[in-house]
């Protein structure tokens, strides 16, 4: 019996071994940040921490810096976050296939006490926003590096998924048909009920590839006169957004070798809307299966009920999907490119098994802890590890992982226009509030990005694009 207690204690130790990122109330934190961002208080939206190794913090804070057009600062945080992803890309292959399959189930065990594992679409978006920052600094060469990282990360994700899918499914089915089967069944019903999956979500190619990142790739390579790399960017974007006329035109233009007129700018307008869905932890009280509990401890498990947790999405409802704008007095409606709400939903759908495995593993641990305590009370031999187990219960980490990159936009829409060099007027009216900018075009390829959050419009222009009096 003592052996079992050692094991429970050891579990607690290893769980906390890699943890530097216990964020039990992440949605509370992001609520505070979002309320400040939505009311224009960007500078106080998040506290700065230059020494944080937390990838999620670095992604969130880097985005806040980007919204303020502090691209150099934003890049510092994005680079730190990217280092973690680069390490993952290089490292995951080093595990054996069998270890990967077990790891896939285990890695979510006690996740809220571990370092944040970015969702696959977040890995892709990190390189994309990093590239946009470099473009903001008129640095196409470094934007090119980030774009290459973007599709290399996609490839790593694809390879990882291919390598682990079958083993993961096999491991999960074994778990699911074991002693905890009824816990899985009870959880699965609620998971599906509260995470409704539309046909559009199922129709997504996967949860990590998005048309905007590849379109941007096409644009950057085109600007750098590398048509052999530009074309696949547009082609992949079209595969992900098959009805988008703009992408179709770009491929035709590239194939026909038509050069743009001199002294004109190909202006890519990127409209980012809202914030990414927040994740909330829901819970159900599930009956502990009779065959699951050792006879001698049955009396300790009061009511025979345990709590199971599962994640649900709360989408941004503060913003429309699209906002028209005026360019030199002409009204233009942007074209939708990415719906991150749907990508997040697809991610939850794809990770249902992992999320359920996490929840059931937590429940098993809790039942084990109760049984260990039961032994302690009965035999007074719980002194060594009893305190540890009680502490586990006291910390509010028993919930589905609520962390995700909330400062990502909810939607990304684009337009592309060819305009003569010189000053042009960009106007957009949001909920009756008009924002007007004079933009100065001086180069063949330029980008104007902006984020709409409630009544706020945060412009993310290229350096020297706005006339001084605008800023």
């Amino acid at each position: 019996m003592k052996k079992r207690l050692y094991i429970v204690g050891f579990m607690f130790l290893f769980i906390n071994g890699c943890a530097n990122n216990v964020l039990p109330t992440y949605s509370d934190q992001t609520n505070t940040t979002l309320s400040k961002v939505y009311t224009g208080n960007l500078s106080s939206a998040m506290d700065i921490n230059n020494n944080s190794d937390d990838i999620l913090y670095n992604m969130e804070y880097g985005t806040i810096q980007r919204l303020q057009s502090n691209y150099v600062s934003s890049n510092l945080f994005f680079t730190k976050a990217q280092n973690t992803i680069d390490l993952w890309s290089a490292n995951w292959q080093s595990s054996s296939p069998s270890a990967q399959s077990l790891n896939a189930v285990a890695s979510v065990f006690y996740e809220s006490g571990t370092d944040y594992q970015p969702r696959d679409y977040e890995k892709v978006f990190l390189s994309t926003l990093h590239a946009l920052n470099h473009l903001g600094l008129n640095d196409f060469a470094n934007a090119r590096i980030e774009i290459k990282k973007m599709y290399q990360v996609e490839e790593a994700i694809q390879n990882y998924n291919q390598a682990t899918y079958i083993q993961e499914q096999t491991a999960f089915q074994k778990e699911k048909s074991g002693t905890a089967a009824s816990l899985y069944d009870q959880l699965s019903v609620q998971y599906d009920l509260n995470n409704k999956v539309s046909p559009q979500i199922i129709a997504l190619k996967n949860s990590y590839q998005n048309a905007f990142s590849h379109y941007l790739s096409g644009f950057v390579f085109e600007a750098l006169n590398e048509p052999s790399l530009s074309r696949p960017g547009y082609v992949k974007a079209l595969q992900l957004q098959p009805n988008n006329n703009l992408i179709q035109q770009d491929i035709k233009r590239l194939d026909s070798n038509i050069k743009q007129n001199s002294e004109t700018t190909d202006l890519l307008i990127v409209q980012e809307v809202g914030h990414a869905p927040q994740i909330k932890s829901n819970e159900i009280h599930a009956q502990i299966p009779r065959n699951f509990v050792s006879y001698e401890y049955a009396s300790c498990l009061v009511g025979g009920v345990t709590t199971l947790f599962y994640p649900v999405l709360e989408n941004d409802t503060n913003n429309q999907e699209l906002y028209s704008f005026d360019l030199d007095g002409k009204t233009i409606l942007p074209l939708p490119m990415v719906n991150i709400d749907m990508m997040a939903a697809r991610s939850l759908y794809d990770n249902k098994n992992k999320n359920m495995a996490q929840s059931v593993a937590l429940a098993i641990r809790n039942i084990a802890a109760v049984q260990a305590k039961c032994l302690s009370d009965n035999a007074n031999s719980f002194a060594l590890f009893g305190g540890t187990v009680v502490t586990l219960g006291a910390v509010d980490i028993e919930k589905a992982d609520e962390r995700n990159w909330n400062m990502l936009p909810s939607k990304v829409n684009i337009n592309r226009v060819n305009l003569p060099y010189g000053v042009h007027t960009f106007d957009i009216t949001i909920n009756g509030v008009k924002y007007s900018k004079q933009i100065n075009l001086t180069k063949p390829y330029q980008i104007l990005a902006y984020r709409i959050l409630g009544n706020q419009v945060y412009f993310e222009p290229q350096k020297d694009m706005f006339n001084k009096e605008n800023n």
Binding site: I15, N91, N103, S228, L229, F292, R365, A368
Partner: protein
């Protein structure tokens, strides 16, 4: 006792997580080794295909009718991020370095920008002794132009477990003045993967 097994299994899983923290090992590998890790068109494929095509062109003897030649950038008509400038350069290397080819390689469209910049710098900046500068209007025009295009077609088995990607590299040589093709050929590569 059933719970005991579950705990032990969970602990084992935890140790696997920690094992995942190991640093990757880096080593040198043969750059010409066959890469069967992916169905994508790899650097090896790019170089080998282009070199094979250049050899076929040399063996055809058709380059003998060209005093000078240039190569247009190889077009990438696949949906993969393939840097076909590697193919363009590999073909230029093979043709230029072959003792069987007497024609001269002249600057391509891609290289023209730098060439014009250099001529302008030497002739218009006022910084150079004009008796030592390369003169404007003396560049050689290409008598022949080589065009290349890479295409691909992907087939996936109905059960999704097998994938076959067929690549075709198509090359033609034109007489620039006449606009006539003097040589055409294609090379196929197929790469399969089973999950």
């Amino acid at each position: 006792m059933k719970i005991k097994n579950t705990i032990i299994r969970s602990t084992l899983l935890g140790s696997l997580i920690l094992a995942g923290c190991a640093s990757p090992q880096v080593s040198y590998v043969d750059p010409n080794a066959v890469n069967t890790l992916t169905t994508n068109f790899t650097q090896n494929d790019l170089r080998a295909t282009a070199a094979d095509m250049a050899s076929a062109l040399i063996q055809s003897g058709k380059m003998g009718s060209c005093k000078s030649f240039t190569i247009s950038p190889v077009k990438n008509a696949t949906d993969q991020y393939v840097d076909t400038s590697v193919m363009t350069n590999a073909m230029a290397d093979s043709l230029t370095n072959s003792s069987a080819v007497r024609s001269t390689y002249v600057v391509s469209v891609d290289e023209m920008g730098n060439q014009v910049d250099e001529l302008g710098r030497q002739n218009q900046s006022g910084l150079y002794d004009q008796s030592t500068t390369a003169k404007m209007g003396k560049m050689k025009g290409a008598q022949c132009r080589i065009d290349g295009k890479l295409t691909s077609d992907t087939s996936v088995s109905p059960n999704g477990k097998s994938m076959l990607v067929a690549y075709t590299f198509f090359v033609q040589v034109f007489d620039v003045q006449q606009g006539a093709a003097i040589w055409r050929s294609s090379k196929n590569i197929s790469k399969g993967m089973t999950k």
